[in-house]
Amino acid sequence: MKEIYLDNNATTKVDEAVFEEMKPYFCELYGNPSSMHYFGGQVQSKTTEARKRVADLLGASPDEIIFTACGTESDNTAIRSALEVLPDRRHIITSRVEHPAVLTQCRNLAAKGYRVTEIGVDGAGRLNMDEYRQAVDDDTVIVSFMWANNETGVIFPVEEAAAIAKKNGALFHTDAVQAVGKIPINMAVSKIDMLSLSGHKLHAPKGIGALYLRKGTPYRPLMVGGHQEKSRRAGTENAAAIIALGKACQLAGDFMETENTTVKAKCNYLEKELLAAIPHARINGGGADRLPNTTSIAFEFVEGEAILLLLSELGICASSGSACTSGSLEPSHVLRAMGVPFTCAHGSIRFSLSRYTTDAEIATVIKELPPIIARLRQMSPFGREFLK
């Protein structure tokens, strides 16, 4: 059974061209890019090219790119750095729907005495900008808002938010892990100070990320003990993965239009057909500006894990905002923050597409999902009562 992979916000397939690009740097060209000899130097020229490719996708300059091990490291580095360079400020602003890489850190910092404000969202997942404008003050050290939400795909107005932060002398960071490669980003005309991205969300392998650091932004490294990345991130470079990330970013740029036309059309079609075929379903974040590849649909009266496992039996990979899949008992903090009722949040399924998604795959989901929902509702003590 060939899998139908619609869980690209969780991770993506490594593009074959990306894999080809990184392959020589394991067994053949394994030199250390920092070495003086030519053998290592040829690796360095390749990582330099990769840095340029990443920068090009972001509209940045190469020395604004710091390679890290993952999006989470980039997020941690950005926030920790801000606290060190602005030590007199004690107020951190973030949103209630951030990825745990940001949210958990902020909550840990709250326990250490920082004042943390988590800005809420409306029913469609849109950031409450009024609440944010009220919260930001001259004690604010950093504002960290995600560019796009991993569960719903809802896009935040990060440029506008960054301008407000700058006016108050605060640093602005965005977790753009889900946005990079899916929507155009141009740091050349931006007020954002720091931006996190992750390789494995855009067809590079796992274990590579980057932090964009605007030229002139005060900074303190999280990892020390080496001159790598101009002493901004110590540790021997993961050369093969860096080279892979460069290639993946180049391809993401090439496919940007496809992402926002073809992929978007497939996603919209999937959404439209499922809503038409399945009663008592709603889009989480419908009505908001969203990523072209993401749809999160709530099916009432059924539970997400059961849906996912029945889909999985057919080789269809998706994910869920349901509590039962994660081991926690509360449905996703994102759906809760949006005020999605418990009854819907438990039955929410996220499909996230990629440029590899085919029309045939979408057609299969449209054919297979409605009977699965009907079957589970038939089994449910609520389904029949409510659906009459």
């Binding site: 539970e303 349901s322 039962c324 509360e330 449905p331 418990f342 089994m379 003590p381 609520f382 029949r384």
Partner: protein, 288 residues
Amino acid sequence: MWDYTSKVKDHFLNPRNVGDIPDADAVGEVGSLACGDALKLYLKLDDSKEKIVDAKFQTFGCASAIASSSALTEMVKGKTLDEALAVSNQDIAEFLGGLPEEKMHCSVMGQEALEVAIFKFRGLEVPDHDAEHDHGHAYPDYEGTLVCKCFGITDTFLKKVIADNHLTTSEQVTNFTKAGGACGSCIPKIKELIAEVLGQAKEAATKPKLSNLKKMQLVQEVLERDIRPMLRADGGDLELIDIDGDHVQIAFRKACAGCASSGNTARFVEMKLRELVYEGLHVQEVSA
């Protein structure tokens, strides 16, 4: 991905006895839509009204909730009511070849529905319950004081599950009952209930009292093994100053000394020592 046994998968993918029995003799209903899982169990009895001849279920929930319900109906068919009442949640889990601990609450839900159905059939008074909380009682037939408001779970029910399954931590109680799994505000109360049940169990087993020497050894061990490495990871440390009866005196060092949240840290140390050494310990922070 949950590591479900092939039996759980089988009962999830091919659930037995789904549906209702219009002329059922006994019906038991537990859970709610808000809770994320719910089960309605129907039992049909023979003419003597003693033996279960048919059982059907309707379940809203995850794979293990559906599998537990299916297993339950298979297990009780052919049993007398008394035999059925003896089926425990562990029996349901065992029938399925085991459940991940986080999913044990699914087996509890099955056992619960069975008990409610039989109690009701036997005309045992089903007590009224107040509905001032958000989501309704998950186990309405266990009267008592509401502990977990998110999932509507009472102290009576929690104590039963803690005792039946020999639970010792609040995480286990959450895995078995869901209580404490959402907002978490009732976790201190759950810990009290565990202590209460364990206390009873301890008395029953007449556990020997810790000698002073043993107590001091254990305190030192826990500090070295469980607490100091954590503090050091954050750049802090502590020193054991003295143990006087049940009073443990500690002084914070490095980053912990003068840290605004050292009060919280001291409470954490006390909690750990109480959990791992002895309930009656008190931790005092001294500036030695």
